[in-house]
């Protein structure tokens, strides 16, 4: 079995943002030379999400609004004090909880060297506590 790994980085520009990374994942699949297998996309963070949805601006806005509505910025959270291991305030509980809703990974089948996704499926790296420098991993396993 062949394994191909690519680490990607990006600087996000907004506090909450859905960033279309579909082309990056497609390109990694092509670069890997793997014909049949699985591609995993994995975030390296706890205040981001990876999700798949239809790539439309209105839906992107609806997803952002849903996250804000379900998890309020102004709620009472335990994660709300000084974090000595960082040397800064840990006051981003809403970002962590929104991340918990979205999950940190997506995966697709790879067949004949092509990622098998539906025509409307768009892969989003979702920033939930930006702007900040972020990383995610694309890993393709197969033959």
């Amino acid at each position: 079995m062949k394994i191909f790994t690519k680490k990607m980085s990006l600087i996000t520009k907004k506090e909450i943002d859905l960033i279309n990374i579909t082309e990056d994942v497609n390109n990694a699949v092509t670069e890997s030379g793997i014909d049949n297998g699985i591609v995993f996309v994995i975030s390296c963070h706890t205040t981001t999400g990876l999700t798949v949805n239809e790539g439309l601006p209105d839906l992107e806005l609806d997803i952002k609004n849903m996250l804000k509505r379900l998890i309020s910025d102004e709620g009472k959270y335990n994660h709300s004090s000084f974090l000595h291991s960082d040397g800064q305030m840990a006051i981003n509980a809403p970002s962590h909880l929104r991340s918990a809703l979205l999950g940190f990974e997506v995966f697709f089948s790879v067949e004949n060297g092509i990622m098998q996704k539906g025509g409307r499926q768009t892969i989003y790296f979702t920033e939930l506590d930006g702007p900040v420098n972020r990383e995610y991993i694309i890993k393709i396993m197969g033959e």
Binding site: E15, E74, S80, G87, Q88, P131
Partner: protein, 283 residues
């Protein structure tokens, strides 16, 4: 909006400039999260609605043998980016403190002096080393920010950070513009008293102790002091400060907006009072 209290640390481009700087920041200031590209600070300012930020260095030569960060780094950041102002910091215990301060203000155009007795380890009683610096700042009409209150550095102690210790200096230099940062927390009432009483005392809003900025400001500004007192008596005295990166700018601004200060006060608090101090102009 002008942020009067930004610490230019944990920035990739900055920590790479000096070999031991990141270790010194870890040790002296107790910051441990990964440095971020400079671009992230600018984007964070955008996201928070902050137009310009004042960068604060700290010269700890006598206490710890280094600066975190140096005046030269601040000058470099300011010269390369129009969104930054810079203060200077000199260690009062060093023989050339005054001449260096003169150089940073007169030649490089830095806008004020930052001192921190909790990390530079001086007492406000040491007039022989402090007063020449204050005299110069008063003559040049530039502000001095003197750390008061809680310092989150694990090396810092609170021994010399009660703002009441500044009162003799305030008396002796009635035209020296003194900024008490962090609203002096936990000495809120003492800070308020000084700012109410003395025309040359200013305060910045960068209070950090527990909870979100919104919760902190509600407790301190609404419940402890009272919005009416702040709006009526600190209209020309209060400065916006984030204390980034101890906390993020976005939530800090959102927290202040949740208080509901009146628009006239916000105009002074968020920007005009800072411009008055930074532009070296009398009212």
């Amino acid at each position: 909006m002008i942020d009067m209290h930004t610490n230019p640390i944990m920035i990739d481009e900055v920590v790479k400039k000096e070999k031991d700087l990141l270790d010194n920041i870890n040790k002296i200031l107790s910051f441990y999260f990964p440095p971020q590209p400079l671009e992230v600070i600018l984007l964070e300012m955008d996201a928070a609605g902050i137009e310009k930020s004042v960068l604060l260095p700290l010269d700890c030569t006598t206490a710890y043998g280094c600066s975190v960060v140096s005046n030269e780094i601040v000058i470099d950041l300011v010269e390369k980016n129009e969104r930054f102002f810079g203060f200077a910091s000199v260690d009062p215990r060093t023989e050339d403190a005054l001449s260096r301060l003169e150089k940073y203000i007169d030649y490089y155009g830095l806008k004020g002096l930052k001192l921190d007795p909790s990390l530079q380890l001086f007492s406000h009683d040491e007039k022989e080393i402090l007063y020449p610096l204050y005299q110069y700042c008063m003559e040049k009409n530039i502000p001095v920010m003197i750390h008061c209150g809680l310092n989150w550095s694990m090396l810092a102690t609170a021994e010399y950070t009660n703002p009441l210790m500044l009162e003799e200096t305030i008396h002796n230099f009635p035209d020296l513009k003194i900024i008490i940062p962090h609203f002096g927390w936990p000495w809120i009432n003492e800070t308020l008293m000084l700012a109410l009483k003395y025309k040359n005392v200013y305060v910045d809003s960068s209070i950090i102790y527990s909870g979100t900025p919104g919760q902190v400001y509600k407790q301190v500004f609404e419940k402890q002091i009272g919005i009416n007192v702040i709006e009526s008596s600190l209209m020309y005295k209060m400065l916006f400060g984030s204390n980034y990166p101890r906390t993020d700018m976005r939530r800090t601004v959102r927290g202040l907006e949740s208080i509901g200060f009146n628009p006239d006060f916000k105009e002074r608090f968020y920007k005009e009072n800072a411009l008055f101090l930074l532009n070296n102009k009398e009212v």
